[in-house]
């Protein structure tokens, strides 16, 4: 299970303020906390700044990677910001995300083919958002085919089935859960990834809903998740789930986490 830490996003007020004031110490601290909590990638997103994203995204890359030694998930749909951010990035980043929306696809494809990177392929079509599992599978299939024919390896593709709120349509959870194994069986080697918070939009006790959804998604084969790794309860669920699915040899990750004091048991 690959974990992408989601906390460095300028839609969060403290992050936005730190980026504007150039508070690199704060940004570094948020990055370090996420890595210590188990993040494999750290997501950086400065999308709320629209025009200034071009300057802020590369700044985030430099700032974060001067404090931690892991690759980043460059979270932007702006090709210009991505090109500049990629210049400074060390190692193999993940780019989040390309989709089937024509303009986005054509503007980002040259960016991601020019670098060795992992790419998030969001199941958003030109015409609208998917509802049923079948819609997700067909958008994913077309995206995967177009990306692989542009020379991107299946293993570098992380399909995001696009999680939508169950509060609006109770079928939204199962649509994603069905789409995950179908996509992965149709394209052996391809990865799947998703965020969690959309699923619980409009509901009370959202974290409970999020972590149960994560458990179900992992059980359906999800290979990566964008989440807050410093959220103890969520990470405890993740580790227990992986262990129960036989993905944690000798239960060692689970036990290590327990001994490190990061398992929440109530």
């Amino acid at each position: 299970m690959l974990i992408v830490g989601e906390k460095i996003n300028t839609s969060i007020k403290k992050i936005s303020q730190a980026v504007e004031s150039g508070d690199s110490a704060f940004i570094a601290q948020v990055a370090q906390q996420q890595v210590a909590a188990g993040a494999d990638f750290v997501d950086v997103n400065a999308g709320t700044f629209v025009e200034k994203e071009v300057d802020y995204l590369p700044w985030l890359v430099k700032t974060v990677q001067s404090s931690i030694d892991i690759p980043l998930c460059l979270d932007s749909a702006n090709p210009e910001a991505l090109i500049k951010a990629l210049e400074f990035h060390k190692g193999e980043p993940m780019v989040n995300s390309i989709s089937l929306e024509e303009e986005r696809f054509h503007s980002l494809l040259p960016v991601i083919t020019a670098h060795s990177c992992k790419v998030v392929a969001l199941c958003m079509a030109q015409t609208g958002m998917p509802t049923a599992a079948d819609d997700r599978v067909s958008v994913a299939s077309e995206l995967i085919e177009r990306l692989t024919s542009a020379g991107i390896a299946l293993e570098a593709i992380y399909v995001d089935p696009l999680v939508q709120p169950v509060a609006v349509d109770v079928g939204m959870g199962s649509a994603v859960l069905q789409a995950i194994p179908t996509i992965m069986e149709r394209f052996p080697g391809v990865n799947t990834i998703c965020g969690l918070s959309n699923i619980s939009y409009g509901l009370p006790a959202r974290r409970l809903v999020n972590r149960n959804f994560l458990t179900l998604a992992i059980a359906h084969g999800l290979s990566a998740a964008i989440l807050d790794p410093t959220e103890k309860h969520l990470m405890s669920n993740l580790l227990a789930t992986q262990m129960l699915l036989g993905q944690d040899e000798y239960c060692s990750d689970y036990i290590k986490a327990y001994q490190g004091g990061s398992i929440e048991d109530n």
Partner: protein, 211 residues
């Protein structure tokens, strides 16, 4: 005429009772506009209010809206020539380049529930399309939604298009969506900002001087 049982049923999302009560009122020869206003719309006002206060949750609000829709279907055959009086016409859509429709649909549903007539242009709506529809329908309000910081500028472009076509002063502009703020609404010259579907109704009424 009081429609407490009907209103209660709509608030609770009790479709069967609500339909029965609506049918009963119609058969008793009640005024259809009265059933709509005092029974159904009054109920949705309560729902919107409770939702804004966090006392009701999204699925419950949708359940109430669905209940109301079913009742309206029963009323439709009895509408007078020319239909019923609406609170005003709203042209609604998600701005150009943006395909997110959930929030916009909720706003549309709640505005209809409150008695507005809603013309939904769906998603990825170009500024010219908003302008054309506002002209064609003589709409009082145009509502724009954007879920991406990258598509927010299309709100400003649409407002500019309304100015350029000379109809800006004939229509009120209301905007909303996750990245949108009251400050942004002010900056781009919108008339109102609605953070959620419940407040969209409140703001729409304020814009037209209702209540």
């Amino acid at each position: 005429m009081s429609y407490e049982t009907l209103s209660d049923a709509v608030v609770k999302g009790d479709i069967n009772t609500a339909k029965e009560e609506t049918q009963k009122a119609v058969e008793a020869g009640d005024n259809v506009q009265d059933i709509l206003d005092s029974g159904l719309i009054a109920a949705m006002d309560i729902v919107g209010d409770q939702f804004s206060q966090g006392l009701m949750f999204l699925p419950q609000m949708l359940h109430s809206a669905k209940t109301m829709q079913e009742c309206v279907e029963l009323l439709k055959p009895h509408f007078q020539e020319g239909g019923v009086t609406t609170k005003g016409k709203v042209v609604l859509g998600t701005v150009k380049g943006d395909l997110h429709d959930i929030g916009k649909n909720l706003v549309g549903m709640m505005l209809e529930g409150a008695g507005f007539s809603v013309i939904d242009l769906q998603v990825d709506v170009a500024p010219e399309a908003f302008v054309a529809k506002v002209k064609e329908e003589k709409a009082e309000i145009v509502g724009m939604s954007a879920l991406l910081s990258t598509t927010m500028p299309a709100m400003s472009q649409t407002i500019k298009a309304l100015v350029d076509s000379g109809i800006r002063d004939q229509v009120k502009v209301m905007i909303g969506g996750a990245p949108v703020t009251a400050k942004y609404a002010e900056e781009v010259g919108a008339d109102a900002y609605a953070p959620d579907a419940g407040s969209a109704v409140i703001e729409a009424k304020k814009l037209l001087g209702i209540d």
